[in-house]
Structure formats: structure tokens, C-alpha cells
């Protein structure tokens, strides 16, 4: 395993260059994982070192979009934590739709579409897909194109399928691939995401949709330091209606943040929180 390793000073130099040139602010990203992503990018594009990366970012505007895509780790797993998806399917989503007409859901965390696909499958299976307004975040144009295209690599199916079955899916996982799944790239049934509105975000989530009833924000704040965690959670709290739900990753907790007193815990194991009404 030969990879280029950069130091903290160089990492800060890259962050400053991106901020100065494009306004994307990574100063409060968790340092260890951000540094690692920079190293991956430098290695993947054969850029030699941090200065090489800075000069590529500064001299090639098209490169920024690749950078924004690569800097956000792809989780590459549908129905991660199947027990959460059972809870959404059986309790949370039916409950929301009973109390509100056309409630808004925001798939906030940046990934390569797995969370959105999973949500749309669940809504389809409980016959509620047209009862919600769904918003999905993206930061890189390349990623949103990929999500809309629905291409999934063969190696991902095994985990996706196992998770889907554990989530109490009522069909077969392969039913969501009109041309089937096999050893080549397969295409997710993107008809399911037809009604989804994609909302561009910056690196600090300055632009959440408003009046939200449910926010899926799993395994995103792990990439932030505590300052940015507090800021982003505060924005999410503002964007939720009272009584709206926030879902974090199972190893993310509001307890380490300032947002803790703004929410009650609905399901501690799955990290489902509810915004207080008062």
C-alpha cells in the first residue's frame, strides 16, 4: 500500500486554497478523515503532493467538482442498519403521513444515492411514495448525475440484498433493477426517484429545505468537528417543524452536541429524535 501522506499544515493550506478561491469551507471538518480523503485524492489523480493538489484546484475549475465528490466518502450500502428501515417502514413514515398532508422529507447526508433509493423503495412498498415531497442533497454535479442514472456496481448487491431482506422488504431486491442484476453494472429503477427535488448544498449545509417533517442525516456529522456539528444541527433544528423527526447514524449522538436540549429521543438504538414542540 503506497500512498502519499500529508501533514496538518499542508492540510490547512489545501483548505485555505479552496476557501479563498471557491468559498467552500472545510475548516471545521474532522481533521483525520479529511486529511485521509486529501491523501486519497492526491494518490488517485497522481498529483504528487499537497501543492500539486492546490495547483490543480486553482488552475482547473472543472476539477473542483471531482474534488467535492471525492471528499465525501461514499457509504455504498443500501438499507444500512436494517432495523432503522423497519422502524421507518412500520412506524415513523405512516405516522407522519397521518398528521400532515404532503409532508416534506429531506435526505440530507451526502452519499451516492443509497439512502434515497432505500427510502423510495420503502415508500413504494407501503404505498406512500406519492404522499411525500422528497428533497435530496448534493454537493457535486457528478454525484447527482450518478444518482439520477441509478448505476450500481455488481459488488454492492450482496450487502444491499442482505440488508433489504433484514429490513422486512416485501419484494425481492432484484425487482428494483428492471434489467436484472448480475456481474455487470446494473441500473436501479430510477422511476422511483422521479418526483425527488435535488437541492445543492455547500460544505456546511447552508441551504436546507424548510418546514421539514423528517430529516435523514445519517453518518454525516461524523465528518465534522464539534463546532460544525453544532452549527449544522442548529440549522436542521430550524428547518424542522415542531414534532418533526431527525435520524442520525447509530454511532452519532446528540448528547455530545448543543442540540441535545432541542430534541426528545424517540428511538435510542436507531438514533431517531423528535424536535420538541415548545
Amino acid at each position: 500500500m503506497l500512498r502519499y501522506e500529508i501533514g496538518i499544515v499542508e492540510t490547512r493550506n489545501v483548505i485555505k486554497a479552496i476557501l479563498d478561491m471557491y468559498g467552500y469551507d472545510f475548516r471545521d471538518y474532522a481533521l483525520t478523515s479529511f486529511k485521509r480523503r486529501l491523501e486519497d485524492t492526491i494518490t488517485a489523480y497522481g498529483l504528487k503532493d499537497a501543492d500539486g493538489l492546490i495547483s490543480r484546484i486553482q488552475n482547473n475549475k472543472g476539477f473542483l467538482d471531482h474534488f467535492l465528490k471525492d471528499i465525501n466518502p461514499e457509504t455504498t450500502e443500501m438499507f444500512r442498519d436494517p432495523s432503522l428501515w423497519r422502524s421507518l417502514r412500520e412506524e415513523i413514515l405512516p405516522d407522519i403521513v397521518r398528521s400532515t398532508s404532503k409532508p416534506k422529507i429531506w435526505v440530507g447526508a451526502l452519499d451516492s444515492g443509497e439512502e434515497l433509493y432505500s427510502l423510495c423503495i420503502v415508500l413504494k412498498e407501503i404505498d406512500l411514495l406519492d404522499k411525500f415531497n422528497i428533497y435530496s442533497s448534493y454537493i457535486s454535479e457528478e454525484t447527482v448525475k450518478k444518482i439520477k442514472g441509478g448505476k450500481i456496481e455488481p459488488k454492492q448487491h450482496e450487502a444491499n440484498d442482505a440488508n433489504y431482506q433484514r429490513s422486512n422488504g416485501v419484494k425481492r431486491y432484484s425487482d428494483y433493477f428492471p434489467q436484472g442484476i448480475g456481474t455487470v453494472m446494473s441500473t436501479f429503477n430510477v422511476d422511483l426517484i422521479d418526483g425527488v427535488t435535488f437541492v445543492k448544498q455547500d460544505s456546511v449545509f447552508s441551504n436546507p429545505p424548510s418546514s421539514l417533517k423528517l430529516v435523514l442525516f445519517r453518518n454525516q456529522i461524523i465528518y465534522f468537528n464539534q463546532i460544525l456539528q453544532d452549527k449544522v444541527l442548529n440549522k436542521i433544528q430550524d428547518a424542522l417543524v415542531p414534532g418533526g423527526y431527525l435520524v442520525l447514524g447509530v454511532k452519532e449522538s446528540l448528547e455530545n452536541t448543543n442540540a441535545n436540549n432541542k430534541f426528545t429521543v424517540t428511538n435510542d438504538a436507531e438514533k431517531i429524535y423528535k424536535k420538541k414542540t415548545g
Binding site: 496538518i8 483525520t32 478523515s33 455504498t76 444500512r80 436494517p82 456539528q229 455530545n256
Partner: protein, 186 residues
Amino acid sequence: MYKAVIIGGSAGSFQVITRILNSLPANFPLPLLLCLHRLKHVRSGFVEALSIKSSIPVIEPYDKDQIKPGKAYLAPANYHMFIELGNRIALSTEGPLNHSRPSIDLSFITAAQVYREKLIGIILSGANKDGAYGLKKINDFGGVTIVQDPNECQVKTMTESSLQLTKVDHIYSTNEIIRYLQKIKI
């Protein structure tokens, strides 16, 4: 003098790690960081199993938890566990490394960068090469490197890969690892 002990293991390491945990006193002066390969979809049960006879509390940390002496931090299922500057845990869902999430290499590399020469790294029985590169990084930063004696391992691949990559400080049986850790003073 030391700041942390980090232990990596896979197939055949469970009994070794429980023997180590069960032999250390509640006032063990360092944090123990445990990165053990585990089934990614089984979130509960592992901590409980490791805790049964351990005087040291075993915790599956949340992201950004402060790392404290006298506690054992077990990398959670389906996350990588990084050590962050400021002596905190940072979790990650980036792709598996060496087919593993948690990856021992990633925990070891990030711990080596934070604790440098004040880290003790231990590789136990296991069935792939994950951890070998991480142990090398600990060695590069001047930390102490220990490998369980391959003759004692249920599966030798992980220890032998580590020995190929690094001239380690000690090759120890489980009993010797325990005695070494019991003698640590800070």
C-alpha cells in the same frame, strides 16, 4: 510515558482479548483501543461478551467521545474507528479496507499519528493481512510493536503478515502480553 494501547485481531482473537481484559486491573493506567473484525450487521452482543469478566469497562464509543484511561474502546460494527487529535474517537463510514470495516490498519495508522512514540500496538490471531501496515506505522513513529506468537495463534495470517512487514519489538504468547501490560507504569 505511554498514552494508549491499541490491539487488533480477527479470527481466533476473541479468547485472547478476553483473557487480556480479564487479567488487567480496573485502574489500568492507559486507554485500550480495540479493533477486532466482526460481523457488520450484528450491532449488539460483542461488548457484552467482552465485558463479562473484565474489570475494565468496555465501550462502543460514539463519534467524538473523549478517550480516557482505564477504559476499553471497541470499534463499532460497520464503522472505521479513527483516533482524532485532541484524544477523541472519530468514526467513519468510508469504504472497507482489506475487506474490513472496521479496518485495523486505519485505527492503527491514525493512533500512530496522534500518539507517536507513546503508543503500544499489538496484533493478535487473524485471517487476513489487515493490521500489518498499521503496525509498521506505529514502528515508524517509534511506538512499541508486539505480535502474538504465531505458534500460539488459531490463524497465523495476520501475525505473519505483520512480522514480514516490520521488525517488531516483541513476539509474545498471550501470557507474556498480559505480564507486559500488567507491568506498565505511567
